[in-house]
């Protein structure tokens, strides 16, 4: 009898044999209980693969739910704050969902396969909340996380590589569109989605074809300089692109213990995802009230002076602390020093000038820095290829 069984080790994804083979640095992290690479060979070079060639990221641990049945559409509309009827078939929509107090539980993407068939991808596990929401609806919610393997294929040459794989006319696919193909006799779905803010796709296959897909992609992509990228490079890319990360930029409301630490969509700059035209959705009355009475916080993108990332900084106005930074990075492509901050109202409006209190250490010596910063209305990194259709060939 062995005292330690393999059962106590972390899970691995369907791509793991290939990921492990390419992970030169042997630098692993834990994502939802899965062994995932923090970095493969060089975080900066991995990041630049996304921005100038193609980077591949294994997103299989993402939570995926199949939502189907006669009431699926009505169910989704009650669940999320945005109007799901505006998401067409074979289209994808970014969405958030709230509790009755109008506080954000999570964000994710809704894939619409048919009038009443959806896939919800969420950062958090949502089995419990989704199940509670089914009461009264003729709908089935199935956790399909383990039956779908997925890769993010992101970067300027990504369309070319996937076209070589057999995704015909992929360059015609609009942002947030879905297209269906077959790969080695199995269904393969491509969505023009991603978490990097660049031209890019996500490829969804049954787990049994995962290894073959990886091998073929890297074979075909070789000349187009395809590279794998890990969580650290993704983090850099997503901050540069202006995307929020659950558990970093906000806490899912049901995980929060302390009073006042949850956030509403308005407080996260996501008011555009709240559609009051719908008569009922979770959080509607609380959000209406907040809209009338005002929010406690404002989500602000800060352009920070200097080149020191404002990680965990206090944000000051006239010498008084008015907020804190949740994410910050020097953005290598935009050549900007970006920070996301939660700022107490009424501060933090676009154009507002604030100060970030930055501490950094060099050779055990700490330096305190007061860096001026300005609230901007969107990320500086906005490449045209992200939205162009047809997708440019490079």
């Amino acid at each position: 009898m062995s005292t330690v069984s393999r059962d106590t080790m972390m899970l691995t994804t369907p791509f793991h044999s290939r990921v492990e083979a390419m992970c030169d640095l042997n630098d692993w992290g834990n994502w939802m209980g899965y062994t995932t690479p923090n970095a493969y060979f060089d975080v900066e070079l991995e990041y630049f693969a996304v921005r100038s060639t193609t980077g591949v990221f294994d997103l299989s641990p993402m939570n995926k739910y199949r939502i189907s049945g006669p009431d699926a559409s009505r169910y989704m509309d009650r669940l999320v704050t945005r109007d799901v009827s505006k998401i067409g078939i074979d289209r994808v929509g970014y969405a958030i969902w709230c509790n009755d107090a109008g506080q954000v539980l999570d964000d994710g993407t809704i894939f619409r396969f048919a009038e009443n068939e959806f896939r919800l991808c969420s950062y958090q596990r949502a089995d419990d909340w989704l199940a509670w929401n089914t009461l009264g609806f003729d709908v089935s919610v199935e956790n399909v996380s383990e039956s779908i393997a997925a890769l993010a294929v992101q970067g300027p040459t990504s369309c070319t590589i996937l076209t070589l794989l057999g995704c015909e006319n992929l360059n015609q696919l609009k942002p947030f569109g879905m297209a269906h193909y077959t790969f080695e006799g199995h269904p393969l779905m491509v969505s023009r989605t991603g978490f990097t803010g660049d031209l890019g796709y996500e490829v969804w296959v049954p787990p049994e074809t995962a290894e073959a897909l990886w091998d073929r992609l890297f074979e075909l992509g070789h000349e187009y300089l395809i590279k794998p990228f890990g969580s650290h490079a993704l983090e850099l890319a997503r901050i540069e692109a202006g995307f929020l990360q659950a558990h970093v930029d906000f806490l899912p409301a049901e995980d929060v213990v302390r009073v006042g630490r949850t956030r509403s969509p308005f407080e996260l700059g996501l008011g555009w995802l709240v559609h009051f035209s719908k008569p009922l959705f979770n959080g509607r009355s609380a959000l209406l009230k907040e809209q009338e009475q005002g929010s406690r916080y404002r989500f602000a993108l800060l352009d920070v002076a200097g080149n020191k990332p404002a990680e965990h900084s206090f944000i000051m106005k006239d010498g008084k602390v008015v907020g804190t930074v949740t994410s910050a990075a020097w953005c290598p492509t935009a050549k900007s020093n970006l920070a996301y901050a939660q700022i107490e109202m009424p501060h933090g409006a676009v154009g507002d000038e604030l100060v970030a209190e930055i501490y950094y250490q060099r050779e055990l010596h700490w330096t305190q820095l007061y860096a001026p910063c300005k609230v901007i209305d969107g990320p500086i990194f906005q490449p045209a290829r992200r939205r162009q259709t047809p997708a440019p060939p490079q």
């Binding site: 005292t3 106590t8 107090a101 596990r125 089995d127 419990d128 929060v256 009073v259």
Partner: protein
């Protein structure tokens, strides 16, 4: 000379803590103990050569870290080692294991229900909120809600503010939590029997209530509000058994000049002109002191060692009505080796934690039904530990010590006193249940100490064998513990105080009642306070 500044009756952990803080303030203190050994219910006893039994309390989490640090208990030999693991073995041959790692734990729950695995995070967050509310009050004297003294008003206001700050919804959740049954509370989160049953155990341990009795959700919290090195809710073993806690406290006490007198069985507190002046032992010896502190439970304090004639009638009535029902018994077993349960490798890490066999709330409720009918449970709820998997000093190498907390056991069997035959029947129901899951268990037993409420009351002095010295329901908590109007450690008799688990914040090896009582005594003596304040929770 039998003259002291203060006499503490009972050398359990609260009596020793109380004595230590009084002695630290410069008082000449004696702690009197009726047994030939100290510790009360916080003991390690070598009842089978080479095996040490924590034969009453058996795990540590609630012991206040402020006291451990302030009295330098580590320097006096105390080491608390956390344990992981734990499992509920199921009738179908499977088990539910408890893992410290969040992702590993998720997978284990998901093996039974993905929905429950997901809901566990919500359960944890909601339960943490409740522990955060109560923890700041552990090292404080409860405010008297009827008092107009500035201190009471200030504390009450602070208490009210922390509740009002919750906002309407969480405030209502909190009120519900404090009055709900643990079964109903868990049903709001989980769908799987074994998961609910595994967690519900903490809601009934030491309590003569069932999983569906209102008030048991709080009992669950009482088991979650402690910590080991800041890990709230974690539990550990005192190295050398629970007696190591009493030993360290006694050394701290003696380092301040305190004196422990064993075999000193107190008969009465001597009261003259409405003031306590000392105690008389059953053998006639008298000890004199202007301060007398009782570490006995409220019933023994006011109905046994105090002459009711010296007390206001309503206090006698409150003591008589104090709810301190026996509900549990214990088996302490020396084992020749490790038993195998449901085929699980006995070296599996789960075995180092708390092990159970009740795999549904229904079985737990049925076990309580037997108690109500006046007998021990035929299918008891067990909280079973093998401390020798964590602490090598408890048994010889390769051998093991097993502590089996058993619920339910009534204080009287169908209205009559326990007999030796009853005790054998009780023991059999426990051994039979364990054997149902472990074919090799019975053959490994080298020695077994069985304690029904009868033995616990007779040997330890806990009325009815109630381990918490009074039930932990809202009617007996905070400013209601032990009774309304007497929750600030003072008795109606001048110079006489209470410091037992029957006072706020209640039972478990916490030492907070002893410390809180010392602070009040020093306040009355107008002496500088020696008792540390509570650590701030973030």
């Amino acid at each position: 000379m039998n003259q002291y500044d203060a006499i503490v009756i009972g050398a359990g952990h609260n009596g020793l803590t109380n004595g230590a803080y009084l002695a630290k303030a410069g008082l000449k203190v004696a702690v009197l103990e009726r047994n030939p050994y100290i510790g009360g219910a916080t003991v390690s006893r070598e009842l089978h050569k080479g095996w040490y039994y924590s034969n009453c309390s058996y795990v540590s989490s609630l012991l206040r870290p402020e006291i451990t640090r302030d009295l330098e208990l580590p320097r006096h030999g105390l080491q608390v080692v956390p344990f992981g693991g734990g499992a509920t073995f199921m009738r179908n041959g499977d088990h539910f294991g408890n893992y410290a790692d969040h992702d590993r734990h998720y997978r284990e729950i998901a093996r039974h229900s993905k929905r429950d695995a997901n809901a566990y995070d919500r359960y944890s967050a909601d339960t943490s909120l409740q522990t955060k509310l109560i923890r700041p009050y552990l090292m404080r004297t409860p405010p008297d809600p009827t008092s107009l003294k500035p201190r009471d008003l200030r504390d009450l206001l602070e208490f009210a503010q922390s509740f009002m700050a919750l906002g309407e919804e969480k405030l209502l959740d909190t009120i519900k939590f404090w009055t709900a049954s643990v079964g109903d509370y868990l049903n709001e989160y989980f769908e799987t029997d074994v998961i609910k049953a595994h967690m519900a155990g903490s809601g009934i341990i030491g309590t003569a209530l069932g999983v569906y009795s209102p008030g048991t959700a709080y009992v669950l919290l009482h088991h979650y509000m402690g910590d080991v090195d800041g890990n709230v809710g974690a539990w550990g073993f005192a190295r050398g058994g629970m007696g190591a806690i009493a030993e360290a406290l006694s050394k701290a006490f003696m380092s301040f000049g305190g004196e422990i007198i064993c075999d000193a069985n107190v008969d009465k507190i001597i009261v003259k002109n409405g003031k306590a002046v000392g105690v008389a032992l059953k053998d006639g010896t008298e000890y004199r002191a202007p301060i007398v502190v009782s570490n006995l439970d409220p019933k023994r304090t006011f109905l046994d060692i105090t002459d009711p004639k010296d007390l206001p009638t309503d206090v006698v009535r409150k003591a008589e009505n104090f709810k301190i029902r026996g509900s549990s018994g214990k088996l302490n077993i020396a084992l020749d080796g490790l038993p195998v349960f449901n085929g699980l490798d006995p070296r599996n890490r789960l075995m180092a934690g708390d092990l159970h066999f009740s795999d549904s709330l229904e079985r737990q409720e049925r076990a309580y039904d037997d108690w109500k009918a006046g007998t021990w449970s035929k299918d008891p709820y067990l909280d079973m530990m093998i401390p020798s998997l964590t602490d090598p000093t408890m048994a010889p190498p390769g051998k093991h010590m097993m502590s089996v907390f058993v619920q339910y056991a009534p204080p009287k069997v169908e209205g009559k006193d326990w007999t030796d035959e009853d005790k054998d029947g009780f023991e059999k129901s426990v051994i039979d249940q364990i054997s149902n899951y472990s074919p090799n268990f019975r053959d490994l037993i080298l020695h077994c100490e069985t304690r029904t409420p009868r033995e616990i009351e007779a040997e330890v002095g806990l009325t009815e064998g109630n381990i918490f010295m009074g039930e932990l329901t809202f009617d007996q908590l905070l400013f209601n513990r032990p009774f309304p109007g007497y929750a600030q450690y003072r008795s109606p008799i001048k110079g006489m105080y209470m410091c037992s688990s029957g006072t706020h914040p209640g039972g478990g090896v916490m030492a907070a009642p002893g410390a809180n009582a010392a602070r009040e005594i020093l306040r009355d003596l107008k002496r500088p306070n020696t008792v540390p304040g509570g650590y701030a929770d973030d």
